[in-house]
Symmetry: C2
Subunit: 148 residues, 2 copies
Amino acid sequence: MPTSTRFVVAVHILTGLAVSDGKPMRSEDLAYSANTGAVVIRGLLSRLNDAGLTRSQLGAGGGALLAKPAEKIRLLDVYEAVEDTELFSTHRTPPCENCAVGGNILEAMQPVLTRARMALEAELAKTTVADIAADVARLGKFSIPLVW
Amino acid sequence: MPTSTRFVVAVHILTGLAVSDGKPMRSEDLAYSANTGAVVIRGLLSRLNDAGLTRSQLGAGGGALLAKPAEKIRLLDVYEAVEDTELFSTHRTPPCENCAVGGNILEAMQPVLTRARMALEAELAKTTVADIAADVARLGKFSIPLVW
DNA sequence: TTGTGTGTCATCATCACTATTACACACTCA
DNA sequence: TGAGTGTGTAATAGTGATGATGACACACAA
């Protein structure tokens, strides 16, 4: 089972905010770009707000803004902000306690699973939203800030 | 979203076969240890058979066996045999093609996501079923082969 | 004061996953 | 050779997470 779409969409949102560079973006505009509903975006923004990655400006002319420079937002920060579940699921019902294997398999596997998760997270920590934004600008042949 | 429970349960199965060391194990016995149904186990064994990790012996006294030494079975092999989905899900509906961000975000993110996946897989490649079996034996204070 | 946009709740449909029943087939053992 | 055992697979159902959607109170800007 994969991660939810939340991670990729959240990076999409933050990249949008990064390229617009200080101009508030409405959830509706972000929803249009991500091809989803505004409420979905607002739900993600709520998590990103809690994580201190974005902030919102209410009222007319308002919208979402980055709470800190895009260079300071690692993809790992985004991942942790929006993903709820453990990377590896274990048995739905715990294995047989009395069995030689069942009673110890989870403890035996735990170190490997932890190492694998940390390896993945270390990779996500190497890239920032600014890196993604720069790559999007390169691919789209425009420069930051972009006027929408 | 996490991986399915299939990965951990499949490792459980293979560890069981490894510690029983050549004695065929019935799907029902494996199901008891994993605390699930025999059909679930048979479904996993079917995938593991296809991947060349196990083989089955039909008829009375039959059951599942490792198709090669436990030292030669990496957790990565198991992972690939039983996990269907991509590690990272992208937008449910593709993002807006015409948008500066929407049209390029997936291409921009793809390298990072690939690196993260490969880092995870590299960790899973370092551990074998024999390693897990040895650890289970250590934790359970028994020696391999185990008589059930 | 009016209008805009956020934040959140509730509801719904969809999908993957696991559990379970059923049964045909292949093989072993007596 | 016949009986019994265990596998392999199909069909079905329940469950939980996810994403989509409508509604509405609240805060803020103009």
